[in-house]
C-alpha cells in the first residue's frame, strides 16, 4: 500500500521506503506536476506512486500509449510550463531516445529516470551508461546523475529537476534494479529546507523577445505558450528567433551553445564524493550502486594495511574530469568499478592517460560486485 498523505507535496519525516517511491517523492518535493510513463518493470512503482500522488497535489499523471507518447507528452507539458518527468527501464529508454533528442535540441527541461535492467530481465546492471550519454541523435551534452541509495534516489531526483530547470536540458537519473527495488531509510527534510530552482521566464514583451538568444554558453529565457510570443520549437537547426535556418554559421553557433552551456558549467554540475582518499595510493572509481561494495572493499583493504580510497561519481555525465585527474595524480593506479563490459572505464582511461594506469573491475552477469571480489581485485593490483 502507498503510505501517502493526501494533498501533501513533501512528506517530511523518516521513512523506510522503496527506491522507486523515493524517486517519486523526490520529484514531488522538487515541484514536479506532470508525469507520463508506460508500464515497464522494474520502474513501475514510480508510475504507480505518481498516479496516486500527483492528483493529490494538483498535478497530472498520464499513462502513455507507449514510451514515445510518454516522452513527448513530458516535453509538451514542459513547454506548457510543467515540471515534468518520465520513468522507464532500459528497453523503454531505447524508445525514448528520439524524444530526448528533441528535448536537447529545443532545450526543454525534463527529468528521465532509467531503472537499468539486463536484457529484459530484472537483473542488476549498469550497461546503459553509454546509452545515457550517446543514445539520441545529434550533438548535445547529457547530464546524468547516479544515485547509490534510496536516500540518494530522493536527493538526486530533486537535483535533476533543479539542473534541468537551470540549464534547460533533459537530466537523466540513472537508477538500477539494485536500489530501485530496495527499501532503506529515507529522511525527507521539511519543505522549506529543500532547495528548488525554477526556469527563468523572459521579462521582455513579445516584440523584443528572441526565444533562443543567450550569451555564448548561456541559457535562453523561456516565454509562456499561448501569450503571443510566437515561439517556434523546431528540431531543425534554428536561429535566435527559432526560425529554421541552414546557414552553417547559425548551425554551429547553436550547437556550440547547446553543448557549451553544459560543458562550461561542469563545476556547477559535477558532484563527486571522496572516501579515504587523503593518503590513498590506490583508488576505486565507482558510480551508482557499485559504490557500496567499493566502499566495503576499500575498508577491508584499509584493515589489511593497504591505503585504498574511493572516488564516487555522483555525476556520471558530464565526466568529472578534474576530480578524476586529481585522484589519478595522487595514486599509483586507479580501479574502474562497474557492472557492464567496461564502458565508463574507457572514459576513466581517457582522463588518466599518461598519468596513472587504470585497472578494470568490470562484470556483467546480473549481479552487483561482492565486496570480497573487489577486495581480491585490490590485492592483485596492490601487490
Amino acid at each position: 500500500m502507498l503510505e501517502s498523505r493526501s494533498g501533501q507535496r513533501v512528506l517530511t519525516g523518516v521513512h523506510f521506503m522503496l527506491g522507486n517511491y523515493a524517486v517519486a517523492e523526490g520529484a514531488l518535493a522538487a515541484g514536479c506536476n506532470f508525469f507520463a510513463g508506460c508500464p515497464i518493470t522494474p520502474a513501475n512503482e514510480i508510475s504507480e506512486r505518481m498516479a496516486k500522488r500527483l492528483p493529490e497535489v494538483g498535478g497530472h499523471f498520464l499513462q502513455g500509449e507507449d514510451e514515445l507518447g510518454s516522452i513527448y507528452a513530458v516535453v509538451g507539458a514542459s513547454l506548457a510550463g510543467a515540471k515534468a518527468m518520465t520513468a522507464t527501464a532500459s528497453a523503454g529508454f531505447n524508445y525514448m531516445q528520439e524524444g530526448l533528442g528533441y528535448a536537447y535540441a529545443i532545450e526543454a527541461p525534463c527529468v528521465i529516470v532509467d531503472v537499468q535492467r539486463c536484457r529484459g530481465e530484472n537483473f542488476a546492471t549498469q550497461s546503459d551508461v553509454m546509452q545515457m550519454r550517446w543514445g539520441a541523435s545529434g550533438d548535445y551534452e547529457a547530464i546524468v546523475l547516479a544515485p547509490a541509495s534510496v536516500q540518494e534516489l530522493f536527493d538526486y531526483t530533486i537535483r535533476a529537476f533543479n539542473l534541468a530547470e537551470r540549464f534547460r536540458n533533459p537530466v537523466i537519473v540513472m537508477s538500477e534494479t539494485t536500489i530501485a527495488l530496495m527499501r532503506e531509510r529515507l529522511e525527507i527534510p521539511p519543505a522549506e529546507q529543500i532547495e528548488v530552482w525554477n526556469r527563468k521566464y523572459t521579462e521582455l514583451p513579445p516584440a523584443d523577445y528572441l526565444p533562443f538568444k543567450a550569451p555564448e554558453y548561456g541559457v535562453p529565457d523561456f516565454a509562456p505558450l499561448g501569450k503571443g510570443y510566437h515561439t517556434i520549437y523546431s528540431l531543425n537547426p534554428h536561429d535566435e528567433r527559432g526560425r529554421i535556418d541552414w546557414d552553417p554559421d547559425v548551425f554551429e553557433r547553436l550547437y556550440k551553445r547547446i553543448t557549451g552551456k553544459i560543458r562550461e558549467n561542469r563545476d556547477l554540475i559535477c558532484h563527486t564524493e571522496s572516501y579515504h582518499l587523503d593518503d590513498a595510493e590506490l583508488a576505486l572509481i565507482a558510480y551508482g550502486s557499485e559504490v557500496r561494495p567499493a566502499l566495503d572493499a576499500a575498508e577491508m583493504a584499509r584493515d589489511s594495511g593497504m591505503k585504498v580510497g574511493v572516488l564516487k561519481l555522483a555525476t556520471v555525465w558530464p565526466v568529472p574530469e578534474r576530480q578524476i585527474l586529481e585522484v589519478a595524480k595522487q595514486c599509483r593506479a586507479v580501479i574502474a568499478v562497474e557492472m557492464n563490459i567496461g564502458k565508463y572505464a574507457g572514459e576513466i582511461e581517457r582522463v588518466c592517460a599518461g598519468v596513472c594506469p587504470v585497472h578494470k573491475a568490470t562484470r556483467n552477469r546480473g549481479l552487483i560486485h561482492a565486496p570480497e571480489e573487489l577486495y581480491q581485485f585490490i590485492q592483485g593490483v596492490w601487490a
Binding site: 500527483l54 507518447g69 507528452a73 505558450l225 503571443g228 517556434i232 523546431s234
Partner: protein, 271 residues
C-alpha cells in the same frame, strides 16, 4: 496606389515566406483554408499552439505566426497531450500529413481519438510520403506505382476517417482541395468543436504521386483525378464496398459530444 495584400498575410510569421512547397502542391491551399477559417471565427493565433511533425504538411505551422512545435515525425499528438493536460486553455491545432499521422504516428493518432483529446487535427492526405521522395504510404491506393512500389502497391490503404471514428474521435470530416468552401466550413466546425476533431483533406502532390502513380506532374490533372473519384456520403451509400474503396467519400462523418480528456485529475481525490 497601394498593392493589394492578402489579408491572411498578417497571420504569416514575419520573414516566413517564401514557402517551400512545390508548384501545384495543395499545402498552400490548406494553409489558406485554415487562415480563412480562423478569420471567419475571429480567432487569434496568439493563444494558439500549432504543431507540425515532419513532412510537407508539417511545414504549414512553421509559416504561421503562432507558438509552434515542429520537426519530429509522427509525435504531434503526443506533444499535444502533455500540453493540453497541463494547460487546457491552450488552443492546439495539429497539421499532419498522411505519413506522419497514419504511419509513424498511427499509435498516437488512435489513442488521441480514443481519449477525445481536445485538439484539432488537419490531416492533409496526399497519398504518399512526399517530402522524402514519393514513397508508398498507408494511404496510397492499391496498385499505385511509387518509388518504393515499382511494381505497384500491394497493400490496401487506410480509410483514415473511419479509423478515427472507430477509435473515438468526436468530429470527423473529409474534403478535398477541390472543395475549398466545404473544407473551410469543416475546419471552422473542427475549431469550434470541443474534443478530438479531424478534418482530412485529400490533396494533390504533382511532384511525386502525380508523376509516379498517375504519369503526370500537372496539378490540374491530379485535381481532376481526385475530383473524378470524389463522391458524397449520399452517393457512397449506393456503392458496393469494392466501389467505395476506390473513391474518396466526402462529408461530415461524425459530430458528437463526449467528455474530453482531462488527465488523471478528472475525479476528486479521496473519493
Amino acid at each position: 496606389m497601394t498593392a493589394s495584400v492578402n489579408p491572411a498575410r498578417r497571420h504569416i510569421r514575419p520573414g516566413g515566406l517564401p514557402h517551400f512547397f512545390c508548384p501545384g502542391c495543395g499545402s498552400g491551399q490548406v494553409l489558406n483554408f485554415f487562415l480563412k477559417a480562423v478569420d471567419e471565427l475571429n480567432l487569434s493565433l496568439d493563444n494558439m499552439v500549432t504543431i507540425g511533425g515532419v513532412g510537407c504538411t508539417a511545414r504549414i505551422p512553421v509559416y504561421l505566426n503562432a507558438d509552434t512545435l515542429h520537426g519530429v515525425h509522427g509525435r504531434t499528438l503526443a506533444w499535444a497531450t502533455g500540453m493540453k493536460l497541463h494547460n487546457p486553455e491552450l488552443k492546439v491545432v495539429v497539421f499532419a500529413g498522411d505519413g506522419d499521422a497514419a504511419s509513424i504516428g498511427g499509435n498516437h493518432f488512435i489513442h488521441a481519438a480514443r481519449r477525445n483529446l481536445d485538439v484539432t487535427m488537419i490531416l492533409v492526405n496526399n497519398l504518399n510520403f512526399a517530402m522524402t521522395g514519393g514513397q508508398v504510404a498507408p494511404t496510397t491506393p492499391l496498385q499505385s506505382t511509387t518509388t518504393t512500389t515499382p511494381y505497384g502497391s500491394s497493400e490496401p490503404p487506410f480509410d483514415i476517417c473511419r479509423l478515427a471514428a472507430a477509435a473515438g474521435a468526436t468530429y470527423v470530416s473529409r474534403w478535398t482541395t477541390n472543395r475549398a468552401h466545404q473544407a473551410v466550413r469543416a475546419i471552422k466546425a473542427a475549431l469550434s468543436h470541443r474534443g478530438f476533431s479531424l478534418v482530412e483533406i485529400i490533396s494533390q502532390c504533382p511532384t511525386h504521386f502525380g508523376r509516379y502513380a498517375l504519369g503526370s506532374g500537372k496539378a490540374a490533372d491530379l485535381l481532376n483525378w481526385i475530383e473524378e473519384r470524389s463522391v458524397t456520403l449520399a452517393q457512397a451509400e449506393k456503392l458496393s464496398d469494392g466501389e467505395r474503396a476506390e473513391r474518396f467519400v466526402l462529408g461530415e462523418f461524425i459530430k458528437m459530444e463526449r467528455p474530453v480528456f482531462a488527465g488523471s485529475t478528472i475525479y476528486e481525490v479521496g473519493r
